[in-house]
């Protein structure tokens, strides 16, 4: 019975996500149902997390009935909106051997992901100290839930947004008990969703067989698997980052506005994952809107940019509500640029850059970053081609912001801080980096159109 009650919220979220994808992509031709499933899974979990947050705010406590009513209402509205539209979705039908092989590959690689997840059933340090603690607190504390933001709980980083804890609360909501296996399963789910989006987005319009290698590359990295399954928010951030980039890239290169609308939903989820997620969402949006100027078709279509911005504002509401109404602010921050006691020194900056180089060279990544660098250099014309420019533009801006933050925030000793955080930050960039290189290298298949 408990396994049914564990799976039921996943299923409801998948249906919710499927409907949201269907609504956004209503005018997109030749949709790939395989890709849709992997996009819908994440969007659905994000939407359920938003609804859980809304239910907690409205009732000032965890309330199973409230969150269920909100889900039923959301599903009813989506059914109505989908039913009243004129044109039915034009999905691709028929058996596709390469895509089926892709699904089999993912199923095979789900096994090592599960072994890694089981190795640390309670997850890593931040799983029990931050993410799962917050979820458990919200579920069990009743009207005291906003004590989460008390200064005495500074160890749980009260300024971190609540997408992951609220998702866990939603997944526990039928059981009404904080079953430890649920966050573990969620880590596996987000890892596999990332692999699925990576694979099926690369298959679209390209030599499909080569796209099979992309998720295999990701899922055969032991260090990535350890960090992806340790129940932190980094794999969640990595998934939404990849989803947003895939949708934005399609919006920029194809004449299909639906991808922009779906990208806006991904950006909203991304902003609610972590403070870095909010920064990433800002950089991606700014980069995409800057790049629209280079694409004639979008410059002419101000209407679609307007709708994109409208959906984006709505999707950003949970992150903004949290930021301005609940977050107590970052208590572990000293502005070293202004502080006389703990200034940002040149040696600190030099250490940061040296640490990047050490991470790049580190054997724990099995040479993965060398491979990405080699791909970038060997295909330099394509990797920085205007069609692929969004991702390198994002990566460079993001690394610049992160470097500035490491340098300017002198609250922590830099050696310890980078040692415990840099690998995690980089883990979130792995799916996106693979997508960037593979989407640049694999040539388009003219037969697929």
């Amino acid at each position: 019975m408990s396994s049914v009650l564990t799976l039921l919220p996943f299923l409801i979220s998948l249906i919710l996500g499927w409907m949201l994808c269907d609504l956004c992509l209503k005018n997109v031709k030749n949709r790939d149902p395989y890709l849709d499933v992997f996009l819908a899974g994440g969007i659905g979990l994000g939407a359920s997390s938003f609804l859980m947050f809304l239910a907690v705010i409205l009732k000032n406590r965890f309330d199973q009935t409230a969150v269920l009513i909100l889900h039923v209402l959301a599903l009813a509205v989506l059914v109505f909106l989908i039913y009243r539209r004129k044109r039915p979705p034009a999905a691709r039908t028929g058996f596709d051997l390469t895509r089926a092989a892709g699904m089999v590959t993912l199923l095979i690689f789900a096994w090592p992901v599960w072994i890694f997840a089981k190795f640390y059933p309670f997850g890593g340090w931040d799983a029990w100290a931050v993410w799962n603690f917050k979820a458990k607190f919200i579920l069990l504390s009743g009207t005291r839930w906003n004590e989460l933001f008390l200064p005495e709980l500074w160890r749980s980083s009260p300024h971190y947004p609540l997408l992951l804890p609220m998702t866990n609360v939603w997944l526990w909501s039928f059981l009404k008990t904080p079953l430890q296996s649920v966050p573990m399963i969620l880590g596996v789910v987000f890892t596999m969703l990332s692999a699925g989006v990576l694979m099926f987005s690369l298959m679209e319009g390209r030599k499909r067989i080569l796209a099979l290698a992309a998720p295999v590359l990701m899922l055969s990295l032991p260090h990535f698997l350890t960090l992806a399954t340790n129940q932190y928010a980094d794999i969640v951030l990595g998934y939404y980052l990849l989803g947003a980039a895939v949708c934005l890239r399609r919006w920029l290169s194809l004449k299909e506005d639906g991808w922009g609308y779906l990208a806006a939903l991904f950006l909203g989820c991304l902003a609610f994952t972590k403070p870095e997620g909010l920064i990433s969402a800002g950089i991606l949006t700014f980069s995409a809107l800057t790049l629209t100027k280079t694409f004639k078709n979008l410059r002419k279509e101000k209407h679609s940019v307007g709708i994109f911005l409208g959906i984006l504002v709505a999707a950003l509401l949970p992150a903004l509500l949290f930021k301005f109404l609940y977050s107590p602010g970052n208590q572990s921050f000293i502005n070293g640029l202004l502080s006389a006691e703990k200034p940002s020194t040149f040696s600190r900056l030099r250490f940061i850059l040296t640490f990047y180089a050490a991470e790049w060279l580190s054997g724990k990544w099995n040479g993965f970053w060398w491979l990405i660098s080699a791909g970038m250099l060997l295909g330099i014309r394509k990797t920085f081609h205007k069609q692929n420019l969004l991702i390198p533009l994002f990566l460079l801006s993001y690394l610049a912001v992160i470097t500035l933050y490491y340098w300017a925030n002198t609250y922590f000793e830099i050696q310890w801080w980078m040692k415990v955080t840099l690998s995690r930050l980089i883990t979130a960039l792995v799916p996106l980096s693979i997508f960037w290189i593979f989407s640049s290298i694999i040539p388009e298949d003219k037969k697929q159109g």
Binding site: L140, L153, R155, I441
Partner: protein, 148 residues
């Protein structure tokens, strides 16, 4: 022949990159089963050590369960092990909030390495020990404080 012509769409640099990826994947895929086997063996020998589980039975002892529990210690929580024990205790005992070095609570956890100091503290605050975990952490009650 058809496959060869389809590969002509790749530049030499792309083909070199694909060759590197092929080598990388071959290496990674051959090493992964060994790593998984090693992990399974470790877990067969030793279950996952989660020190926070020592606090899980406290919920059965303490009625009604308080919203605040004091946590007194002479250890430096910036150090790895004491910090981990505190964070895991906080996780296991949620939704109670652990008040570090807060003495005015009905229930207090005492995590001391110096037993003389522990005795002094217990005497000074009139604490009565209720239970000791296998890691030596004591749950004490202050009978003078009312329920929280």
């Amino acid at each position: 022949m058809k496959n060869l012509t389809s590969f002509s769409q790749f530049s030499k640099a792309d083909l070199l990159f694909l060759l590197i990826i092929g080598c990388f994947l071959t290496f990674a895929i051959f090493h992964l089963p060994g790593r998984l086997e090693q992990m399974e063996k470790i877990r067969q020998k030793q279950a996952y050590p989660f020190v926070g589980l020592q606090f899980s039975r406290i919920k059965d002892i303490v009625h009604p369960f308080p919203s605040r529990i004091g946590y007194m210690t002479d250890k430096n929580l910036s150090d790895n092990i004491p910090g981990m024990v505190f964070s895991q205790a906080q996780y296991v005992l949620a939704p109670a909030v652990l008040d570090l070095n807060g003495v005015h609570h009905k229930y207090i956890l005492l995590d001391y390495s110096d037993k003389k100091l522990l005795a002094k503290i217990a005497e000074r605050h009139h604490l009565v020990p209720l239970k000791q975990t296998h890691w030596g952490i004591i749950l004490a009650i202050n009978p003078e404080v009312r329920d929280e």
